[in-house]
């Protein structure tokens, strides 16, 4: 006579799953950097010297194909606005690491459009972080 094998119930411990999941959420919330950038239509300049940006930037300035200037995603009038904006952002900074200002610009724009912006960033005390693409 065959005995019926008793099936052992092996419960998977799921009590802590919720805790783990919430810890992961907190991790993502803390680590994620909300993008202030708009999706701009521009061709980035290329260079063999570009590297992944390791510093945290204080402000993001961008200029699209039409030469429209943006400060942290918001359109601004001109380089003067950029200068005052960067000055305001850097007012409470002490270390050099906090003075990096990211500048993204279309590769085809002429000097008279981009250079006043670069000068505005520099005059306001920012360290220029010019965004580009790695040249293959």
């Amino acid at each position: 006579m065959k005995r019926k094998k008793k099936r052992r119930s092996v419960p998977v411990p799921t009590a802590s799953m919720g805790d783990i999941a919430f810890l992961l959420i907190i991790f993502f919330l803390v680590c994620s950097d909300t993008s202030k950038e708009r999706s701009l239509s521009l061709d980035l300049p290329q260079s063999g010297y570009v590297q992944k940006t390791k510093v945290s930037v204080a402000a993001r300035i961008s200029m699209d194909k039409e030469g429209i200037l943006y400060f942290d995603g918001q359109p601004v009038e001109g380089p003067k606005d950029v200068e005052w904006g960067v000055r305001a952002v850097l007012a409470n900074t002490v270390a050099d690491d906090q003075r990096h200002v990211q500048f993204t610009c279309d590769a085809a724009l002429p000097k008279e459009q981009f250079e006043p912006v670069i000068q505005a960033i520099v005059e306001a005390g920012g360290i220029l972080e010019a965004v580009g693409e790695k040249r293959e």
């Binding site: 799953m17 919720g18 260079s47 010297y49 002429p110 000097k111 360290i127």
Partner: protein
């Protein structure tokens, strides 16, 4: 009798909050963050551009200058290719120099596109140079 049964009912009530679905909600939130998070890293160059007053004395004859005229590059008024510019900048050994000896004047014409400006700026910065922008007013 009825009172008794009510009392028994009260005993059986459990005051626990249902937490079975918590992990499901949490994992849904994780999936949302995973999808929404952009992991693209921006690539850039750090350019050392000192701010300061526009002094003509900074443009001494010994200070090397890079002149961009459209797509053409001139180093100390001699036309060079981009590779030659890199070689000349490397020959200056700017990273071992101090103070004003690290300064490279960067001049450009109005029609210079940002692409070639960026490339030159990157080359000077990579060689350890400090870029001094030359404005058009100074030329007049």
């Amino acid at each position: 009798m009825s009172r008794k049964s009510r009392g028994q009912e009260k005993k059986h009530r459990s005051g626990t909050i249902p937490t079975d679905s918590f992990s499901d909600i949490a994992f849904l939130l994780i999936i949302y963050f995973l999808v929404a998070t952009s992991l693209v890293k921006v690539k850039s160059i750090t350019a050392d551009l000192p701010s300061g007053e526009k002094k003509a004395q900074a443009q001494t004859e010994k200070t090397p200058s890079v002149n961009l005229r459209g797509s053409e590059i001139f180093f100390n008024d001699k036309q060079v290719s981009f590779d030659e510019l890199e070689a000349r900048l490397a020959a200056l050994d700017l990273s071992s120099q101090e103070g004003s000896k690290r300064v490279i004047l960067l001049e450009s014409t109005r029609d210079t596109p940002y692409g070639s400006y960026f490339q030159t700026l990157a080359a000077i910065s990579a060689s350890g140079g400090v870029v001094a922008l030359v404005q058009e007013e100074e030329k007049k």
